[in-house]
């Protein structure tokens, strides 16, 4: 598992709808806030890149010092963004694909309004389990 990882789901309107600090490293107080900054800034790059490819997985698109941002864009233009320091691209890809499945299940819930915050604790535990498995 990566020592630092921050996973976020950003809605098509650029609002974060899910966030999770996944790293095994000890949490620093301002780390979460810095991660948000990095991911938020990489949205600029995603915005350009997303239209240049038909693949959903955009691979590592941005970096900050030794942290890499990998992005996966769903058909509905919801962006899964992962900030990580591991170099395991295959793992990241698998992680994204599985999270995408989970996300679709959330979308299928008639009580979930697309673009609203994902508060499901089940989703959260599943994502964390996937992170342990793949990252």
């Amino acid at each position: 598992m990566a020592s630092t990882a921050c996973f976020m789901i950003v809605s098509r309107t650029d609002i974060p709808i899910y966030e999770a600090e996944l790293g095994s490293a000890l949490k620093k107080e301002d780390a979460a806030q810095q991660h948000q900054f990095i991911l938020h800034a990489s949205l600029d790059i995603v915005q350009d890149l997303a239209w240049t490819t038909s693949a959903m997985f955009l691979k590592a698109i941005d970096r900050f010092n030794d942290l890499v941002v990998s992005v996966y864009v769903t058909a509905g233009h919801t962006r899964f963004m992962l900030l990580h320091d591991s170099r395991n691209e295959d793992g990241v890809k698998c992680f994204f694909q599985e999270v995408h499945e989970l996300y679709i299940k959330i979308l299928l819930n008639p009580l979930y309004l697309p673009g609203s915050r994902i508060a499901s604790s089940h989703f959260d535990t599943k994502v964390r389990a996937l992170a342990r498995k793949y990252l």
Binding site: A32, Q33, H40, A41, D44
Partner: protein, 1272 residues
Amino acid sequence: MADPANTTLGKMLMEHITPVVMVLPTPLVEQSCQKNGLTFVDLLSPFSAFDNIDVPVRTANDQPYRIKKFNLRLFHASDIRRPDLETAKAWMNKVVTEAGEKESYRNDDILPIPESESLPSWFEIFNQELIQVSSFSDHETFDHPVACLLVVSSNDEMPINKFVDFFNTDKLPSLLNDGAMDPKILKHYIILHDNQDGPPEKASKILSEMKNTFGSNECQLLCINSSQGGSVESPVNSWSSCKLNKEHFLNTDNIDQIKVLMQDLTTKHIIPHMEQKIRALNQQVSATRKGFRNQIKNLWWRKGKEDTPDTPDGPAYTFSSIESQIRVLGDYAFMLRDYDLALSNYRLISMDYKLDKSWKRYAGVQEMMALAYFMTDQARKEAEFCMESAFTTYLKLGLRGQQNAIRCGLWWAAMLKARDQFKEAANVYFRVSGEEPLQSAVMLEQASYCYLFSVPQMLRKYGFHLILSGDSYRKCDQMKHAIRTYKTALSVFRGTSWGLIRDHIHFQLGKWFAILGTFDVAIEHMLEILACTHQSKTAQELFLGDFLELVQKTGKTFEVCRLRLPVVKLPSLRVVFEDHRTYASPAAVGVRESIWKSLEEDMIPSSTTAKSNWLELHTKLVPKKCKQSNICVAGEAIKIDIGFTNPLQIPILISNVSLICKYFISSDEMESDNIGSSTNLQNDEQLRELIAGSDVNADKDPYTLSEVEFSLNGGETLLVQLTVTPKVEGMLKVVGVRWKLSGSVVGFQIFESDKVKKKNANKRKPKQSSGNELTFAVIKSLPRLEGSIRSLPKKSYLGELHRLVLELKNHSKVPVKNLKVRISHPRFLALGTREALSLEFPACLRMDNNEKCGHAVQSDETASLFEFPEDFIIQGEEPVLWPVWFRAAIPGMMSLYITVYYEMGDVSSIMRYRTLRMCHFFEVLPSLDVSFQVSRCPSSLKEFLVHMDLVNKTSSQSFEIHQLSCLGDQWDITMLQPVNIPSPIMAGQALSCFFKLRNDRKATVRGDEVISQCDNRGNHVRLGAQVDNEDLFDIATSPVADFHRHEVLHEEKAEQRYAETVDFILLSHPHNMSTESVDHSLLFSHHACLCSVASNGPLCWMMDGPRMIHHNFDTSFCEINLRISIHNSLDAAVSVRIHPNDSGPSTSQPSNSSGVSSENRVGWHDVSLAGEAKITSDTLQNTRHVQQMPGESVSPFIWCGSSSTRIKVAPLSTAEVPIQICVFAPGTYDISNYQLHWESMHPEGDIDADSKQSSGIFPGHSFYLTVLQSAT
């Protein structure tokens, strides 16, 4: 792309990579120059840049070209060395600080989009300085002096010797001394004459001497200070950058002379010298390095050197080494703008340096290659690649390469910017930002601007890098810059939903503004993040703590409009006020208005009459406008419920919570205020006024406010009730709510309802009225009744009977009268008579007790309305008590609503009546479940069997049954047989009892007469342990009878009405398990109403006659007279026809038997006689076989008389019909082959006729008649 030379980088290179002229003046020269406040270098510098020099240049190529612009860089010999890093840093710091002071951080929220021109100018200065720091390095030669100016004053003694001495001293820069560059440089000799020291004859003499010694071309005379003081205007511009004295002695001639000197130096000496050198070097290089042979040789030679020790800088190259010469050749070519030549030489040398592992030189050459590529505007990829490799190579060198790396990065970034590759440029800037905070801050800020200029704009990156830069500024204490960057970043992040980002920015800004002492702005920022639900608990604590500390520092209480801590739940706002409706308890307030409305419907004066009296009065007193607003009474509190939510995880303390109100004497005033408040500013001012005003709450205020204090735990929501009590008549408007957080910050929230009203005022009327719910018209104080029912049990068992007390209080001096009460559930509660208050209960119910509770109060039975006597007036402090009977009628959770209507004794008041609404909730537990079944005794029409089923449904309580009574005087009940009823009946126990009920009396005695003849004890049965009829309760007295009536009413509504019914009341006492005794103080009554006695249908009849007859058949057949008595239990007359059926009894028998036997019924009923009949026939076989076989059609007897008889039976009466049969032989006969056809004769227009069964056919009952042959 534009001409590379015109780009920023091009201009920068044109200035920076130019020939250096070393100046060596004597102290006396400097002294003369100082008269003007200048050094000698300063004096010449403005004239070292030429815009239109137009010199033909011929380098290695034979084709000459012209140079228009040219620059020289003049340095004092002592300045030609590596600049001091520390001083440079200090200077940069100063530049930045000054810029920070100048920069006024904009407080406006507009997103500033600076164009490239509007980039802060100090970026440029800063970058220049960073580049300067790395100059005069030994690994690159463009900083090495090309020429040398030797200046001697005419006052110097032995000037010629001085010129020679310059090169003998160790004043020369290290570059020359340690062999990095060729010491044989171009020399130019100048004799400086100060005209103030005398005429220039002496100088001319020296000049001619010099010319003899050094050659005529290299020597020149320069005269300065010709002017006799006073200022000459024209040249001032030239030195504007320098610190020129106001008083200077330079005249136009001097300046022209300097100009000519510099131009000559450039065109006639330096450029030709460089050309010459280039050509010489080029030849040499071609000879040694060009061509295939030389290359192979070179490679082999370098291979051979591989074992040399690997010094960090690679091998040291002297000026005479071929490598240095190639580099010099390249640099000279670059300076003379022969970029192709320069490039070819750089390429050549870079390979060598690489092989020699001389990394710094390699990087330097790579850098120059990139620049050369850039200036020729070709091979962009190559240029970038070269820059990249140069930059990384410098970085690899660590500290030694650091400054060069920075310079290289800056050039790189400038190059990318020139080509509009802003994104890449930003990346480079980001890489340049090193450890040093100030430098990294400036670099990051430049990077952020690059993102801003890139196409498409990358605002998020812009914001992020601004934040990073701000953090760096903060690290080097450039607070103002930090704030500026954060503020700018805020324009990007404003309104973002990325919570952590927003919180971070506001928190930092708040902290920094606090450090700078601008607390108001700091607090503004802190307020933004107070209600941060997404943050961790520690972060919330930090934010709140810092905020409170900040507020304390300011030393005053702050009033904050948007304090979101706690959150005021505006939808939860509920206003409770009392106009003519008053409430006894908060619970009553929560009851739906419609319930009260239905209760009060016909109690309060109807609206038509109301309009004619009190509303008319009302319109006179209160202007029209107020009709829309609510009415409240002076002295009575208006209660407002507001929900406060703590969004944080940490507890917060809220104090001084109170309402903000506004008082107007008249409604006109309020209206004018409404118009005024439409402009926001004024509204705000008024608010301040209001908030300030509410602090001084003196007695003369027209209202008083309540203050509440509470603390909210994390995430808690609390509903708080606030009150305002108006004291004076007028208009009162509740504007908002204010509170104090942690004792220091005052927050307030305005209720927006009037805004809503304004918006909708033109559209719909109902909205308008709803918006007005916070405006009250205050009217003169009125009496207000308070009331409650004392000690109403919260939990009771079904059937429990209590006497309670209704307490009414009127604090006002004005009496109230005409009291009326209505109860929502009259089955539960009934008002007694005043005397009942003093009686002992339940003993007063005893039959042998002389004091009676009196009969039920005569009032409208169905309306459940109770009117107090006319003389019942409540006034003054003394509470008035009134007895109330309570009986738990049905199990379950019950809510009981009581409305008391009263009228003012004072007619002049605006309101004539008010109502008091009371509400009680209680639970009724099931206790004894009693059910009765009555069936008619077949042998007698007047007798019935009563089957009582008792189940104790409680969990622990046991009961003792006291008595069973049936209501109505015509009934007489006795136990079927004396059985000991077990006592007590334990929890869960079931019991069945049988009673015999007789209908003895005449049916004509009915109604109220029955109740009066209550001395008859026949309708009571004393049950329980001691069976004597001594302590029976009288069920016809007040509470029991009252409740029974309501039960009956209830039953009537629920069930189909049978005319002939009987009501039972079972009285019981609870049995106390612990003391093993019966609690006689408590009485339970269970009512079973309208138990139908006509269980078998509307008719019952009986055949009456002899059962056994002796007759001599020898003489004649036997005529037998029988009677059928028919009882009609319907409430309508019935016409009955008895229809003898000769076809035999069997036709109807089977259906009858099957119909009955399917039910397992208790009591008397018809049982199938098929089996029994057979037995009968068997026993009688020896005498005569007369049993009719089924299917046999011939009847052994015949009906005599009329074949069918029709009679009319009056309702609830009995009629007798005589019938006659003839028997022809002895035997046993079943006389059942007849049918009763009945048809009810409803009175005309009876609507219910359809719903009930109106006609039918009954088969005959069996009646066995035995006829024997008489002995004769």
